[in-house]
Symmetry: C2
């Protein structure tokens, strides 16, 4: 199958926008991207759906009211005027694709739609400086997977030196239900959690601020459409159930996790906060950056038939470069810029997002519009591509050096963690995800 078979006019590298900043070749949001988000104007409470373009945002509520989306019909028009992405996600991939294509025409230089839209600029375009980004959907259920073989092997070696990779890993896309309530908007400060840990195996556990606070670099996938309970989603149709991808920081308290996780898995070590990046990049925008899915090492079993789609294997991967940056309080005070801790690729994942979705529904579990699937920590084979501090600093054995002279085995209060992600490929316009940010705050004062 030709990996570019789904490309249309919206992907044309020659397209330029009448929003000048979108035409900068280093921009995350050229007109070939057009990711969706939900924002709030500085001057009002009501959330609005938006589409990023350069350093500006297309205000979909205002644009719909001005008739810009009328041709898409009343259902789509209404969905774009709602308070979250759920209504659009409920309509499904096809309508979302139509909205992106309509936005491309609206924001394009030299089209009739573009010329009309430009006259509405004061009404329908808002600068990113004048708004805050919200969680883009009401997330009914959040599921977190464990799709990187490298992460599973590295972490497994620490927690279970005898059996780092469990026998089910290469058959089952391992995942667990996460907490939806504590998913927070990009930029929300993250308070260091309190919890039970057992630092001394010969003494009782203690309750207090976590000492081993970590980030996890993940990619999130927003679900669109709905399958009824009892109905499975065949792998060949899974792609139509994924609206787009975003950056995701699955903050983790490692000392709480190692004490609580047996036998039912991670719980409070995760549910204090999960940061979702500002923009959801649609699979349509990502189409030119598909890569062959991760090549299973020789001797690895083939996926079971329900997870094995030749088309998916050919087209399933997304070549997203992912980076983690950190800036400590000391660095901010000394005006030292953020430092890059790692760089990896989403293409290194053992399981594709379509495999994750199909596996999730393989027992008849209903997936609803707005559900979020986390990929699990994205780690690659090289040390420099490990997606969490636990791995990067080898559980404290090899602390990370910061340019301020500080060291980090885990996060300190005041540390700001910044994820960046983008796709680049010869002959195609670079697109990005925006920055996913969060700063660690001290634990709340409280009775121990």
């Amino acid at each position: 199958m030709n990996p570019t078979s789904k490309l249309d006019e919206s992907h044309d590298p020659a397209l330029r926008s009448w929003i000048g900043s979108a035409n900068d070749s280093a921009a995350d949001f050229p007109i070939q991207n057009l990711p969706f988000g939900v924002f709030r104007h500085d001057f009002e409470e009501r959330p609005r759906v938006g589409i990023a373009i350069g350093d500006q945002v297309l205000d979909c509520l205002a644009a719909a009211r001005a008739g810009c989306f009328a041709a898409l019909g009343p259902l789509v028009d209404d969905a774009l005027q709602s308070w979250s992405l759920n209504a659009l996600l409920a309509l499904g991939r096809g309508d979302a694709r139509a909205v992106r294509l309509a936005a491309s025409r609206l924001l394009r230089r030299g089209t009739p739609e573009g010329r009309r839209a430009q006259t509405l600029r004061e009404t329908i375009i808002v600068g990113m400086d004048h708004l805050s980004m919200l969680v883009p959907a009401e997330i009914g259920d959040y599921t977190d997977f464990y799709a990187s073989l490298y992460h599973a092997t590295n972490v497994g070696a620490m927690f279970r030196p005898d059996a780092p990779l469990l026998p089910n890993y290469k058959y089952v896309p391992i995942g667990y239900h996460g907490r939806a309530s504590s998913i927070v908007a990009n930029g929300t400060p993250v308070r260091r959690p309190r919890g039970q840990t057992r630092p001394d195996a010969n003494a009782p556990p203690v309750y207090g601020p976590a000492k081993s606070l970590d980030y996890e670099l993940e990619v999130g996938a927003f679900v669109c459409g709905e399958n009824a309970i009892g109905e499975t989603v065949p792998i060949a149709r899974a792609e139509e159930r994924i609206f787009g991808l975003c950056l995701l920081n699955d903050w983790s308290a490692r000392d709480m996790q190692s004490w609580e996780y047996q036998p039912l898995g991670p719980f409070l070590a995760k549910s204090f906060a999960t940061t979702v990046g500002p923009w959801v990049v649609t699979l349509d925008a990502l189409e030119p950056f598909r890569t062959a899915a991760f090549a299973r090492p020789m001797g690895d079993p083939a996926p079971l038939p329900y997870l094995n789609d030749p088309g998916d294997q050919l087209r399933g991967g997304f070549g997203i470069t992912l980076e983690v940056w950190l800036r400590s309080e000391t660095m901010r005070a000394a005006e030292i810029p953020a430092v890059r801790l790692s760089r990896g690729s989403f293409g290194s994942m053992y399981w594709t997002v379509t495999q994750l979705l199909t596996h999730h529904s393989s027992n008849g579990c209903n997936l609803r519009p707005g559900d979020l699937l986390g990929s699990g920590t994205v780690s690659g084979p090289e040390k420099g591509s490990r997606g969490c501090l636990l791995e990067l600093a080898s559980r404290g054995a090899e602390p990370v050096q910061l340019p301020s002279g500080e060291q980090r085995s885990f996060l300190a209060d005041g540390d700001e963690v910044i994820f960046r992600g983008w796709c680049e490929r010869d002959g195609v316009t670079r697109i990005g995800f925006g920055e996913c940010r969060g700063e660690v705050r001290a634990a709340s004062p409280g009775v121990e």
Copy 2:
């Protein structure tokens, strides 16, 4: 603390209702109970909040429209006219208590409110035969605990013979995030899930209908009120965050569970269906049935201070008798009534519901109105009080005999599982939970 200190006029055993069936001493729903649910009339789509009374239901929408709750103020009045319990749960325990007290007066024989309400009978009362019960709240997050020491020990011995009870059990109220989307209304047929299992450890796993389908007898707790993210709920205030309890069947596919659960816990073995009982019995109604919490065996560690409240230890338990009944297809055809498989007590749980709630929030996790906490399988010390087939039939070693001559190690297609729960105590009126029912249907035909 006096365990009856929170009793008020609504608990008076002398009260009688003008609904005759409520005055039957064996009824689940006497006027001393007044549990909340959400129902749909046979003739309309719109869900309504209801309160069970005898074999009838007080239609709160109709009663509120008729002015019966006007004295409670517009917020409560509006909440009772909404589509689910969430609005009432958001108002909190105090308002819920006021509604129950007002309903008690409305439904009471010999009060002015009762006489007026009786004239409205045709409008505000509906027979249970003419409605279907729905999931009572939009459940934002569902968390399942593991609070029975007996269950944890029995199951642990099967999965980990060397270490049945893990070292964290007596310190950490173990729990995991469950799936909210697949929580179904009482009576919904449950389709046998498909999934990966590995029946032969020397061969690859297979994907197909689960063979070891089980029920789990649990008690659910609906959360009311809300704590902000980062804010913990002290144990002394946890009780005000629990609206009431219901029966809960956490259907489980044991063969899928044992293959998938490491290292991140149960996932698809649970997320195909969870049945919530029809009625939520308020903690206010349960107050007369409080028992001293489970006495930790000599030598067990005391709960850590954040989970240790002397008042909670004295008053934290609820003496709910719980039974599991089963009726197979063969039994139905032969007109053999359902057979009781087990009887236990919720008072045997190692952790109280207040400890579960406080632990859940101890990392700053925000709990929202409508969130559901499952207790985990309620098993007691005796064999006859084991709350799932896995335990009851000792993982198939000692199959359960049915009066039809059939045997069960796990559930067969066509089996109907019925949970019953009630509280009884000398000098106090018996109250019950109604029946939580679900029938197993064959797996959907599908590509293996």
